[in-house]
Amino acid sequence: MKKTASLRWLRWVIVLVILPAVVYLCSISDRKYYLSALLVIAMTMAVFFLSFERRMPQARELALLAVMCALAVAARVIVPFPSFKPTMAVIILAGMAFGAERGFLCGAVTALVSNLFFSQGPWTPWQMMGYGMGGLLAGLACHAGILCRRPRTVGQLATLVVFGFVLIVVVVGPILDTSTYLTVSMKSAGTTAAGPIYLTGLLTANLPHAAATAVTLALFGRSLLDMLDRIQTKSGLLQD
């Protein structure tokens, strides 16, 4: 498999050489933080997208990923409260069931499609990155044994719920707030404006988002994981 070998090489080059170089150059030259951040996001996503392409995904993998992304978008429509967003919960569960890399893809594609239905904006790449990171970290936590793939006891379920809550407050939400912060701080002064912006983001958007994710995980997490398990044993989807 010459192709995968060269891709792996490319991946290390991007992560170890190009990313630090971009960050360094942009930070010393003209303080174009926004552009450098966008470049970092684009390259991170390119790594995942290209590795997905090079793997030549089978029909089953494509179909299952498409279903999870569409469910994550449609879940928002099903719940009768407009501000209640169960999307991240579905992405977290997909990341747990299918692994970190597919979790990232699921998150990024979900953000892109959901913006196609609502509206694209300067936040789109940030949202793709944030949701992707959420799926990725859920997959990694599951792999590391922090999260249980088949939560049976109350403790295991509680870990999942707390993990989802913390993930939104600490990772996904701040990534979205950074988009706001960099847009605002482009023309106004200094780093100290960060405090009010991140705090407003936390109170108005991230805490409700985290609560919605936690509630969805508590009520729906076990049954979705069971369904995904069942479908995988039934049809051998994603067995590699």
Binding site: V67, A74, P80, S119, P122, K187, T216
Partner: protein
């Protein structure tokens, strides 16, 4: 609905145009440049949506004022910045300079919002996938599948809700009850969707998915006029960028007011190129409109 000359151009042309215009609007923080960008976006939105865009555009005015007045509060420094103090608010000095700065910021924000609205109108999902299909075939297919599934799930969800109401579940009760009902609906939808995934995957495999290199259906062909349009756009953007690089699009308000003039040939060329670039879609739209009217009257 978005079927004018500019929207029917090749997706690469539209995508390149919006990326260039949005990126330049964000980077060229100069009152004149920003005003032109706002005017260009508003004109094209009006051309695309007609009278329906008017309330939206009017709604932008209070938004502009609110962001402008609130922005000095984001400034963390307690010392007065700029010489002309308007008032103090929460122990901070609000100066004209800070307000001007805020006005620039909110103008940039609104220009971005308006251009993205035009973008959503012109760059539909099919164009996006057409553009990226040769580069990322599997991912584009994934995107197309998701775009198809989301409305289908919406319809199925409605059926599930109706069915559950028929057996007396859902519809009444408090918020907790409604949430539990929603989760049950989601559960039912998921089970149905996952079964569908197996059927789709088997169907795809039996039709030979993955057996050979994937080709893509091209609805849009890159014609000569697309090439000319792209070249014109690139030239205009290059002139604007050159003027900006030479410092003609710089403006500072804090700590001191500095607004670059455009009184040299390069500065003037940059400003004119920027104006033409921004009005290009609107001009094309009006041109087509006029041609249509003239031809019609001859019949």
């Amino acid at each position: 609905m978005g079927t004018d000359r500019f929207s029917s151009a090749h997706p690469a042309v539209s995508f390149g145009y919006f990326m260039a215009v949005i990126l330049l609007s964000v980077m060229l923080l100069h009152p004149v440049y920003l005003l032109l960008s706002l005017a260009g976006a508003a004109a094209y939105l009006l051309a695309l949506q007609g009278r329906r865009a008017v309330p939206l555009l009017l709604g932008m005015v209070p938004l502009f004022l609110v962001i402008t007045t609130l922005s000095p509060l984001l400034n963390p420094l307690k010392d007065p910045q700029g010489g002309h103090v308007v008032c103090t608010l929460f122990g901070r000095y609000i100066t004209w300079e800070l307000l001007c700065n805020g006005a620039m910021l909110s103008a940039m924000f609104l220009a971005m919002v308006l251009w993205f609205l035009c973008y959503s109108h012109v760059m539909t999902g099919d164009k996006f996938t057409t553009l990226f299909a040769p580069l990322l075939p599997s991912l584009s297919l994934l995107l197309v599948m998701v775009l198809r599934l989301v409305p289908a799930y919406g319809r199925k969800a409605k059926q599930i809700v109706t069915a559950r109401q028929c057996i007396g579940l859902g519809g009444s009760g408090g918020k907790g009850q409604a949430l539990r009902g929603a989760m049950a609906n989601l559960s039912a939808l998921t089970a149905w969707a996952l079964e569908g995934a197996i059927v789709t995957a088997d169907s795809m495999r039996s039709r030979g998915y993955g057996a050979a290199r994937r080709t893509s259906f091209r609805l849009y062909r890159f014609s000569l006029s697309d090439g000319l349009l792209l070249a014109l756009m690139a030239a205009l953007a290059a002139v604007t960028a050159a003027a900006a690089a030479a410092g003609y699009a710089r403006a500072e308000f804090v700590p001191a007011v500095y607004i670059a003039g455009s009184n040299t040939p390069l500065g003037a060329a940059g400003l004119i190129a920027w104006a033409i670039l921004l009005l290009l879609p609107t001009i094309l739209h009006l041109w087509e409109d006029m041609t249509w009217r003239i031809l019609r009257s001859k019949i």
